[in-house]
Symmetry: C2
Subunit: 211 residues, 2 copies
């Protein structure tokens, strides 16, 4: 199961979100080309992805949504649930806390960490805030397995070291700096500068074509 | 020039950031293996990327940093500068405004758009705020070529339509919803839910290996 490519995992997350919306609307089946359209992919890709998690549809009715959702859940979720710890309660940290709260019943931001005394021991966006020195005890107590880093660049490596020392194996880094981590830790880097500069390059290229 | 792969553009953005830091420290040359190490890539990849923008190093001294920076600038930047418009002045919008302000002299967030009367006509994080109905005039006046979308999902498509109608060709979408855009518009989607669910999958997988 671990041999599933990263890109497939990304699409499974997107399929599930679309499926949840369809189930809420009372729909029961979907064809691969409709599902492909909804996540901006191709029908062949959808069929390959779902085959890989052992799900096949019926040629007449398509994929049964409820069963499909359960198959994706079985692959993606930890049945006991997973806790998330977030370090850095600035605008970005709060945006993620507000946005992600309650979105996935198996994934909860259990704790936020900062060094600012005005934030520690408060509940912000529904989430208890602690000093970063409390990371070891809180990670253990709250069964946190995922760390989100929204501190400034200068503090990012220190926070990542603290997370890694507790045994956390997956980190999402929003600080614009490369991180050193052991090879058995998964790091997802979300680089805001890079995404803006990339878009700017395409804006420039596409505009010069117009001329 | 437009045939340069997206992944190369992403790495060029990272190289440049590293180069700027090295130049500030007074360094003048770098070897491909050192540059590779700093952005977590390989020396062969670095050499391929830089060859592609017509830059070659000296075997004895490596790459000359100032010239390399200028070559990357020549490819990536619009010499006249480019303006960015951001729609949705919530926590995420403010995080980006705070973070990106002043970081790249050729790329400036010129305007922010919202519907909240408390925000309109104010200057927030150094950026003038307007009503979304003013998008056409402000985009034109400020030479905005890139749109950033940080509104809720329900408003995202409307904002994107407004941006696209002004002629904007590059959009960065932080709303967790797929967008419909004409084929000649570049869209970079930054999906927070997907990145967290992906990390959760790897946390689960890596933890089950441990047991």
């Amino acid at each position: 199961m671990t041999a599933i490519p990263v890109k497939t995992i990304e699409r499974l997350s997107k399929y599930r979100r679309v499926i949840n919306r369809l189930l809420e609307k009372g729909e029961t089946y979907i064809f691969s080309h409709d599902l492909a359209h909804l996540i901006d992919s191709t029908p062949a890709q959808v069929r390959r992805d779902l085959m890989q998690i052992g799900h096949t549809g019926s040629p007449k009715k398509g994929y049964e949504l409820k069963q499909l959702k359960e198959n994706i859940n079985a692959l993606m979720d930890d049945s006991d649930g997973q806790g998330i710890g977030l370090a850095g309660i600035g605008y970005l940290g709060r945006a993620i806390m507000n946005y992600f709260g309650g979105r996935n019943p198996k994934l909860t931001i259990k704790a936020a960490f900062d060094t600012d005394p005005d934030k520690i021991n408060r509940v912000i966006s529904g989430c208890r805030c602690y000093h970063i020195d409390q990371i070891p005890e809180v990670v253990k107590k709250e069964n946190i397995t995922i760390g989100i880093v929204t501190v400034p660049s200068s503090a990012a490596q220190d926070i990542v070291n603290r997370f890694v020392r507790t045994g956390i194996k997956a980190i999402i880094n929003w600080a614009p700096t490369p991180l050193q981590t052991p090879p058995d830790v998964f790091v997802e880097s979300r680089d805001i500068t890079m995404s803006i500069e990339k878009a700017a390059f395409y804006a420039k290229t596409l505009n010069s074509k117009k001329k």
